[in-house]
Symmetry: C2
Subunit: 340 residues, 2 copies
């Protein structure tokens, strides 16, 4: 492992110049820079990140705290963040807080504070005030994705508007008996999206002069299986069956499609189904949905952090761009069958 000193010697300059030439901070004459780079590549020199971090206080490493790895939304956010960071020359250290609160304390107290990271991205985790304060006091930027953190810049789609759009799509097709599969209450703890989506659904209904019928709501756990069972309840009633279902996630919507099939119903002839996400499987199932773009959310979180970590850059993204979402109409929604 060649060190900076050898590079300096080979290039015929001082170690300071090597450091400057390689890191890009401070001015170096083109000539020296070329010689340094030449020497560095020749020796296969790579900075020791520890020495560099210790001396500079910067780690070029971002911590990502995330509750699940095996769900579409989360792995997509992670992927987006990872790629954006890689491009910027940053590493990503992963803290998967799937387990109990114990794990969580340990991560905060012992890991994040170890000076391992320059900043933190918290995905769908409601941090406590104490946790936020700790990070702020350390001067570590923090950005949230997919969940509201008081006092912290957070990226979330407008869940109310998205749910409203989905519901209005069904209303526009002529549906009036529209069921909703939403989140269970527990899910509201860390991110309030179930409630917000339900609110958007109800608002759309009311605006259209349709009464909200509590019997048309079924809770589920955001999985295919959960959506399947919820939809069976909703669609299994002998009379006044809903003609459409708005599920708060694509996985639950897909479960609903499978449930409808098992009940002998044809989608969309007998029942229209719409979700939220634009999950990988949505296309395969012909699911109409409102796309959110989690990869983009991950990338954007990185951008925001970069603005704070490296303010020099040409002041890119305007601070408060709303996150995009988009109705994608496939074959799971249609006009309701005419009443005989």
């Amino acid at each position: 492992m060649a060190g900076i000193e050898e590079v300096a010697k080979l290039a015929g300059v001082s170690t300071a110049t090597v450091s400057r030439a390689l890191s890009g901070r401070g001015h170096v004459s083109p000539g020296s820079k070329a010689k340094v780079i030449e020497a560095a590549t020749q020796l296969g020199y790579v900075v020791s990140s520890n020495a560099s971090s210790l001396a500079s206080g910067r780690t070029r490493n971002i911590g990502v705290v995330i509750p699940f790895l095996n769900r579409w939304f989360f792995s997509s956010v992670l992927e987006g963040a990872q790629q954006a960071l890689l491009r910027k020359g940053y590493d990503l250290t992963l803290y998967n807080l799937s387990g109990d609160g114990n794990e969580r304390v340990s991560v905060f107290e012992h890991f994040l504070l170890r000076q391992r990271v320059d900043a933190v991205i918290a995905v769908s985790l409601e941090l406590t005030e104490r946790e936020v304060t700790r990070l702020h006091d350390l001067g570590k930027p923090l950005v949230g994705v997919g969940g509201p953190i008081p006092g912290v810049r957070t990226l979330t789609i407008d869940d109310v508007a998205v749910a409203r759009l989905a519901t209005e799509h069904l209303i526009g097709l002529g549906h009036t008996r529209i069921a909703h599969i939403g989140g269970q209450l527990e899910f509201d703890l860390d991110f309030h999206l179930p409630t917000n989506r339900r609110l958007g659904y109800e608002a759309a209904l009311l605006d259209a002069g349709i009464e909200v019928d509590p019997r048309l709501f079924a809770p589920a756990d955001f999985t295919i299986k959960g959506g399947y069972h919820a939809a069976k309840q909703l669609l299994g009633v002998p009379r006044d069956r809903p003609t459409a279902i708005f599920a708060a996630s694509d996985e639950m919507a897909i479960g609903s499609i499978l449930a409808a099939r098992d009940l002998g119903l044809v989608v969309p002839r007998d029942v229209s189904i719409i979700g939220i996400d634009d999950h990988d499987l949505a296309d395969f199932f012909g699911l109409t949905t409102v796309a959110q773009f989690p990869r983009l959310q991950g990338e954007k979180a990185v951008e925001i952090l970069m603005e704070q970590l490296e303010p020099d850059a040409d002041a890119a993204a305007p601070a408060a761009t709303p996150l995009p979402y988009e109705l994608i109409v496939r074959s799971s929604t249609a006009r309701p069958a005419p009443v005989d």
Copy 2:
């Protein structure tokens, strides 16, 4: 941020003793140790990992190189590794090599060599000899999961045996026209599992005196969609339809189940279907499968690294435990319908 010196002062000992007491290496009297711990917690002291790494040469950080994040097998391995590492007090730095080879070079040359990690876990990536050599030269232990790396300790289930078990399950039920949905050739590049699974399938057939019929093989890309299309091909033939399908992954098996349904076939009455994985969705679809346990594989990879990084520990796992797999019979397989 209290430093080690303040802790030493408060505890009335030297910084060296603090270091020893907190890290556990070297002997410290119980009395001093208690005082140090007391002082450290009181001050909220946390070591600076950079300073520690720089001085000791150890980072307590493991790099995980992985090609996908959004697939069940990979996210499960990652989850297992993450949890095991967390328990050991290690961090996990993630390198997602989804993109082109360019990214890959960059990761190796600039990231892994920066002294950021003590060891590397490579998931389903066939590293080049050069890459392996680089890491070895740096004294960084390396373990592979799910793919063969020449000259490196690798954890993989015995794909041939697993495929054979799945096929024998079908044969045992009385099937003789057994189709196979396997991987496309491209997938064989980085991990040879498609070929190995096909080999196991053919071996089981031959052992049972059943001829291997190349028309009963269809390639796919390990997704539900891919399995769906492959199965349609296989099951759509007008005569001599296979009575069973062995898919090389659960996702393809699930696609097959959906294809069968769309063709008006009842599973398992008209066609039996078996997969490999025990994917999250397998239970929901009643899929018979051979479970592999990717979380466990991730954990095991960590164990192996720990043995090398911290040889002191009570010599745990015997080196060459084979990875477990297990036939899980659900409702997608049954005796073939009697020939009329």
